[in-house]
Amino acid sequence: MVTRKRYSLKTREGKEALTGYFFLLPALLLLGVFLLYPMGAAFYYSFTDFYILRPGEKNFIGLENFQMIIGDAEFRQALRNTLYFTFLVVPIQIAVALGLALLVNKKLKLKVFFRTAYFSPVVMSLVVVSILWTFMYNPNEGLINEMLGLLGIPPQPFLTSPDQAMNSIIVMSVWQGAGFQMMIFLAGLQNIPDHLYEAADIDGANTFHKFLHVTLPGLKNISLFIFITITIAAFKLLVQPMIMTQGGPLGSTKSLVYHIYEVGFNYRDVGYASAMAVVFTVMVLTITIIQRILVKEERG
């Protein structure tokens, strides 16, 4: 056996396998230790009463954490807020991004300027944008209320009102992110062959028909990709409420990830937070899988 093994490492195939693993191993080890192990640990912790301040004691408590989630009003509110944010941000941001891409795809002299302008908020981090808009949304002396005042609109409470806070965050998020998807849409638009439009012209199609029958089908794959990435990113909402509202007022902007962070990190209840993280992961995976299936059906 030993001789055969040695022999096999001396063959071309054996050497290649060894080299292959030499190249792959660092990445595999790192992914294993810092991604797969924590994934497994989160699953394990979710069945325990692990509390950071008592690291020695981890008692198996079965499904108790998961039962607690069902009765947790704060979790339900966080889930509702996250879903509300996702259901609004996704369609609005895609529509804005597509609209901007169509505009800057026109043959205009200033199109590079316009493209850069629409893209510029992407260059700022979410933290920078959130702080800036907190000042802009200031109900007493904020820029937006001053501008509304010039139009004769009374001052709005924005982030200080449970009814307006989440919508204010949505407007800002679309403003910050749409330029990014605009660039991806633009790449897609430029990949649509000109002869399709020319053929439509010959058939006497108007602008709207061309959009419906040439542009949209040509953007199908890219739209689905954008749809999936925006949905998942929206579901992970954290930075905006953490900086702008601390989840308030009255918990109206507390998101799922924010709630998990507070329970796990501020209250140190890792067991319960891990159970919520598992539920969160299952939700993200479900979204991904449903969308993948839809993509396949569309293609098939």
Partner: protein, 286 residues
Amino acid sequence: MRAMKKPALMKKIILYVTMSFLAVIFLFPLVWMVMSSLKGDVQIFRDMTSIKAFLPPMPNEVDGYFQNYIMAFERVNLLRYIMNSLIYTIGIIIFGLIVNSMAGYALARFQFPLRNFWLAVIIATLIIPPESIFLPLYVLVFNLGWVNTYTGLIVPFIANAFAIFLFRQFFLDFPRELEEAAKIDGCSQIGIFFRIIVPLSKPVFATVAIVLFINHWNDFLWPLVVANDDSMRTIQIGLQYFMNQPPIQWGQVMAALTVATVPMLLIFIFLQRYYVQGLAHTGSKN
């Protein structure tokens, strides 16, 4: 002819007006941020009701244009936060480029047992949201004694499934002839990779480096939990801290926000080509 031209001209005017209006909407917060960073707080509030909010202050209105910047750097350790962010992102980029390009190369070029299995595992990890593992990851890093160290910030994010995937796709299209020739010349596999493949693969290395820089310069959750000491804060965490430090001076915070945006701005101005390539790549490959 004239009757034909008029609607076309009207259309063009409407188009320009719409696009200019949108440009104003996308730009005014940025302009306001930069202009306010040059003004004292009293003037920021006074200018807010007029177009002056978006104009720089008159020389006689301020003591010095960069007063807010000087004060911001004095009140909090902005320079340290920026250094920490640079060490964090550049550390991840350097180690990440080496580790992930090697893995991508292995998956693209070599035949070995379980190769397709590992490829599937790596692609599957793409759908694990980092937000769902930050707690156990924190416990792990805590037990390793890495809290408030650069090691704790950097090491968990060196291996990156998306980067491995991009490298693999690139190396699959890479012509084999060069490697065959080097092999005949007696070059080792490691030599071939670092001396021949890497120098000829600059575009993919640039794209991955930029994607990693943008992601990690903007990182919030991981630095927030693992680097809570003031000397270890990254710029994003430092900004949040500064925003809540009384007395809250808007002009100074605006100055800090502007400073934090400069590195990203430089990346976009000088390396936009690679960045857009990376975007197009992700868009079409998925």
